[in-house]
């Protein structure tokens, strides 16, 4: 970490990070409702997947994006390796978002299928 500039409150990156954090919390709230609805129709507790999606979103998008904006971006001019880290973290972030999206979509679709019968 020697010689690294760290910007703890990078704007506007912080806006995105808080936004995605809010989406994750929205998923937690949604998981609670979905859990109760699944219980009524006596189906497995698939709401766990939605909760996992929220956790995945925080671990793979919010935290890496914060690290990238606080550490990698401020040091981009002086250290070429930072660009490589940025690309790796970007890939991790969107792969995480992809996994989280699938985890949200599956139980929701199943609920809609089950209740349409």
């Amino acid at each position: 970490m020697n010689g690294l500039v760290i910007d703890w409150f990078t704007m506007p990156a912080l806006i995105l990070e808080i936004g995605v954090l809010l989406l994750a919390f929205a998923l937690f709230r949604f998981a609670r409702v979905l859990g109760e609805l699944l219980e009524i129709i006596q189906k497995p507790p698939l709401e766990v997947l939605v909760m996992v999606a929220g956790v995945v979103l925080i671990l793979t998008f919010v935290i890496p994006h914060y690290i990238a904006s606080a550490v990698f971006y401020p040091n981009l001019t002086g250290n070429a390796q930072m660009k490589v880290y940025l690309d790796i973290f970007r890939t991790i972030s969107f792969m995480g978002m992809l996994v989280a999206s699938v985890l949200v979509a599956i139980p929701s679709m199943l609920y809609l299928v089950w209740t349409s019968r």
């Binding site: 919390f25 981009l76 002086g78 792969m95 999206s101 929701s108």
Partner: protein
């Protein structure tokens, strides 16, 4: 809480929000445009030989560009560029003193040189600027390093403050991180230290956008963003079904529209990365703010749905 979200309020609010989002998205995409010729690499190190200073231009387009009438500005001087042509996706080495540069660097074969015919470079290594000015007098590209000063003859408000970190090592140069259709966000972060310098030719340091995980990640980002949006849309359909079954108003229409910001963010970042390999400040502010507003709405409406469902289910038990 639910009174606040009457349908009239929702319709009006959502309408205004969507118009605002569309306008912001348009502004963001307009800001993404970048010039076809850019200042690509600069050699003016602190404690370096002024005779050896040079500037490299790069033609990003697929057509040849004749530099007749073009000018290169520094903080205090303006130099007409010789009438040379930069080939498509080609480089031009602008030297202040051709002899000084060739004495210091071994140039690759075929390097096109535009010599300004001076005895030595006039760039100030600690702080200076470079503007590429078209025959019409428009600044096509501009960079600066160190602290800009409004006492400079060609000072303008578009200069970065602070600029790129001044180059301290005479064995290196300052250049763009990406070549080709690469990164150009009009910010100092577009530039990094190049080791070794590559006057008039492609830097072995600079990477093509297809390197690393760039392109595959672009595709993943599109799919991920759209799927996340779909996830919230499905939540809206669940709220709708709950309303149909229970007779309780769930405001599912609001939940249907709330995640739109996720799609807009996905489009802005996707276009920015496919064009410039990065988001510029305008795109970041636009995309991030839209996603944030969308997230607040999603959280708010899902919280309402959650509360209504909980109350109804408790009453039914």
């Amino acid at each position: 809480m639910t009174n606040l979200l009457s349908m009239r309020w929702v319709k009006t609010g959502v309408g205004v929000a969507m118009m605002l989002l569309a306008a912001l998205a348009f502004a963001g995409s307009a800001a993404a445009a970048s010039p076809s010729v850019v200042i690509n690499e600069v050699y003016a190190p602190v404690n370096g030989d002024a005779n050896a200073q040079w500037v490299e231009l790069y033609n990003r387009s697929n057509i040849p560009l004749l530099l007749d009438g073009w000018k290169l500005r520094t903080a205090q001087n303006e130099y007409p560029l010789p009438s040379v042509t930069i080939s498509p996706t080609g480089y031009l080495l602008v030297t202040f003193s051709r002899a000084g540069v060739t004495a210091r660097f071994t140039l690759s074969n075929g390097v096109v040189i535009a010599d300004l015919g001076l005895d030595a470079g006039t760039l100030k290594p600690s702080a200076d600027m470079l503007s590429l000015v078209s025959p019409a007098g428009l600044i096509v590209d501009q960079i600066n390093w160190g602290q800009p000063s409004n006492s400079w003859k060609y000072y303008n408000s578009a200069l970065w403050n602070p600029g790129i970190d001044p180059l301290t090592d005479p064995s290196k140069s300052i250049g763009r991180t990406w070549t080709g259709e690469g990164k150009d966000t009009d910010s100092p972060s577009d530039f990094t230290v190049h080791d070794p310098p590559s006057p008039g030719s492609k830097s072995p340091f600079a990477k093509d956008p297809s390197d690393l995980l760039g392109r595959p990640t672009d595709y993943v980002s599109w799919v991920a963003g759209l799927l996340l949006w779909l996830g919230f849309i499905l939540a809206a359909f669940i709220a709708r079904r709950f309303q149909a079954l229970s007779g309780q108003r769930t405001y599912w229409q609001a939940l249907l529209i709330a995640p739109s910001g996720i799609v807009i963010y996905t489009i802005i970042q996707g276009l920015a990365y496919s064009q410039n390999r990065a988001m510029n400040d305008g795109e970041k502010w636009t995309g991030f703010t839209i996603l944030f507003l969308s997230a607040v709405l999603c959280f708010y409406v899902i919280a309402i749905f959650s509360q209504i469902a909980k109350r109804y289910l408790e009453a039914s038990k």
